[in-house]
Amino acid sequence: MGEGKAGIGYNGIMRQTIPQPESMPDVPGSQTIVSVTGLSKRFGERLVVDNISFVIQRGQCVGFLGPNGAGKTTCINMLLGLVEKSAGKIRVFDLEAPRFHREIKARIGVVPQADSLDPDLSVEENLRTYAGYFRMPRRLARKRVDELLHFFALHNRREEIIEHLSGGQRRRLLLARALLNEPELLILDEPTIGLDPQARHLIWERLAILQAQGTTMLLTSHYLDEVARLSQQVLILDHGHVVVQGEPRQLITDLVGLEVFEVEGTPAELEAMGASFAQCNARLERVGDKLYVYAREDCSRLTKVMDTSGSWVRRPANLEDLFIQLTGRSLRES
């Protein structure tokens, strides 16, 4: 942390002394949207969320990552008052949760993991009914529904029954539903799960537009490219703890390295390869008949050595490397 360049934990004094033109412009009214301190949740004997603290600033998109059962959804549900916390403090929009859950939920939009659209109602009826739960005046609701149906390219399916919609259309409708109340915080729990690439890209594009308009987001996803694309901050959870939090690019370079070589070969070849990589500042990992080299500096001089092996790939280090490094390779089946 003493190096001063780290994105995590650099302190306020630096910010004052060094002008930072590249930092996000200070939006008027910029403030903390969510602040969670020492949050814990116990289900019987099992501690699902263990002393978690984090903040979400207005306009940010925070990626919530973690293997299955890490406590992500429990955390989100505690923000919404759907799960009672065992300990800790939650403030959303500077209101105490769950005491003010109505006021808080009136200003949040949620895209749930599981499809909870009303199968008996049409696309438009689904939205109108949901607007009713927010007690939106009819005229306003009609206008808003129209806008959202256009925004998510669903306007020519407004009379359609939910059953006849594709997976992508359902997800878009869930997103439209979450945006009805013009939420100040949008919670996305696996927004593109099970979608084809076309449908995912369409959703990403719309989310990017919302982000450009300043919508604050909390995103959970197992698609780490999605998180890298959308989030300015990530928070990796494992076994109910926050393992790391910070700016994704910075975390990757700090904790994983610059680039990754994936080398395939016989055990003997990989052994030899490993020895030659000792000359370079890199971390090695053997998985089956593959050798992963996480290089912290430019190791291109070693590509010659690698040419002797079967095959190899060189790529930039990414969020997935960070995730695996921090949470391990073992399967989590809860």
Binding site: L80, A106, D118, Y133, R135, M136, I209
Partner: protein
């Protein structure tokens, strides 16, 4: 850097217009509507109404088929060989009770099979709880909805009675709130079962061990008052028995039994059932 680039790429062809702040639902709305909050459950009632309208025919036939067939088989079929009861023909004797039973079936089935589907398969409750509505709104919405369906079934039965030669007295209007109350009770009872159910099979126990016995032993088909004492006391404690008596009293305008105790007792058990339904559903929904 990566993100800044993306932000520029995102063009302006699709944008959502921000609405003026004073019309934003969340601010203006909550300022004026602390009192209205108590009626938030109406929006849930409305949701159920919208869905029900789409299946109106199936819903009505499903609920009314049984009591009407019973009226036909027992009233006409069996009734011809059964002497007058309490000064009424057998058909006249059972008709008001069958109206009460139609309310019971309609309300209890709605908040068991119907509510359980919304709770589990359709995740409607989950979606609703992500809005400003809470569990109390949900429970009230479901119970009042079930009671409304029950009342409707009862009213249709009453309207059908003249076809069988049974003409109710004007006092029958006083029966409507009683039927609604009974609908509230059986909706709440059904919702209690839903809150406890692990799967749909659970409701088979409910119908065969609770609803069917109530149908048979609540004084619809035979007068409870003439039974020997321990049995009579037991049957009079059943929740449907006072409703059946009240139905008969108001249907013919013959006040041959005290009504106040039946009425107050029904209000009391309904209140308890609604509270318990709320408690159990909250326990199931909020972990």
């Amino acid at each position: 850097m990566y993100l800044q680039k993306r932000k520029k790429v995102t063009g302006s062809q699709h944008t959502i217009n921000k609405l003026p702040t004073n019309t934003r639902c969340n601010r203006g709305f909550f300022a004026i509507s602390t009192i209205m909050r108590g009626f938030s459950f109406c929006t849930i009632w409305l949701r159920n109404w919208r869905v029900w309208k789409k299946h109106i025919l199936a819903a009505l036939i499903g609920n009314l088929g049984q009591p009407l067939l019973f009226l036909l088989a027992m009233g006409y079929g069996l009734g011809r060989d059964v002497g007058p009861m309490n000064g009424l023909t057998y058909l006249q004797f059972i008709a008001p009770g069958l109206v009460a039973s139609a309310v019971m079936y309609s309300a209890a089935l709605e908040t068991t099979y119907g509510s359980y589907t919304r709770l589990t398969v359709q995740k409607t409750y989950e979606a609703i709880l992500m809005t400003p509505l809470g569990v109390v709104d949900l429970v009230l919405g479901e119970i009042v909805w079930g009671a409304s369906k029950g009342l409707l079934a009862g009213v249709i039965m009453l309207l059908a009675l003249p076809l069988f030669g049974v003409v109710p007295s004007p006092w029958v209007l006083a029966l409507l709130p009683v039927l609604f109350l009974s609908g509230m009770f059986f909706s709440a009872f059904g919702l209690i079962m839903t809150a406890l159910a692990k799967n749909y099979d659970f409701f088979n126990y409910f119908t065969s061990l609770v609803i069917t016995p109530l149908f048979l032993f609540s004084g619809i088909f035979f007068p409870v008052q003439t039974m020997a004492q321990p049995v009579r006391g037991l049957l009079e404690m059943l929740p449907l028995t006072p409703i059946v008596s009240l139905a008969r009293i108001f249907c013919y305008g013959r006040f041959d039994e005290p009504i106040l105790l039946k009425f107050l007792g029904s209000i009391l058990v309904t209140g308890c059932a609604v509270w318990l339904a709320g408690y159990l559903l909250r326990r199931r929904l909020i972990q």
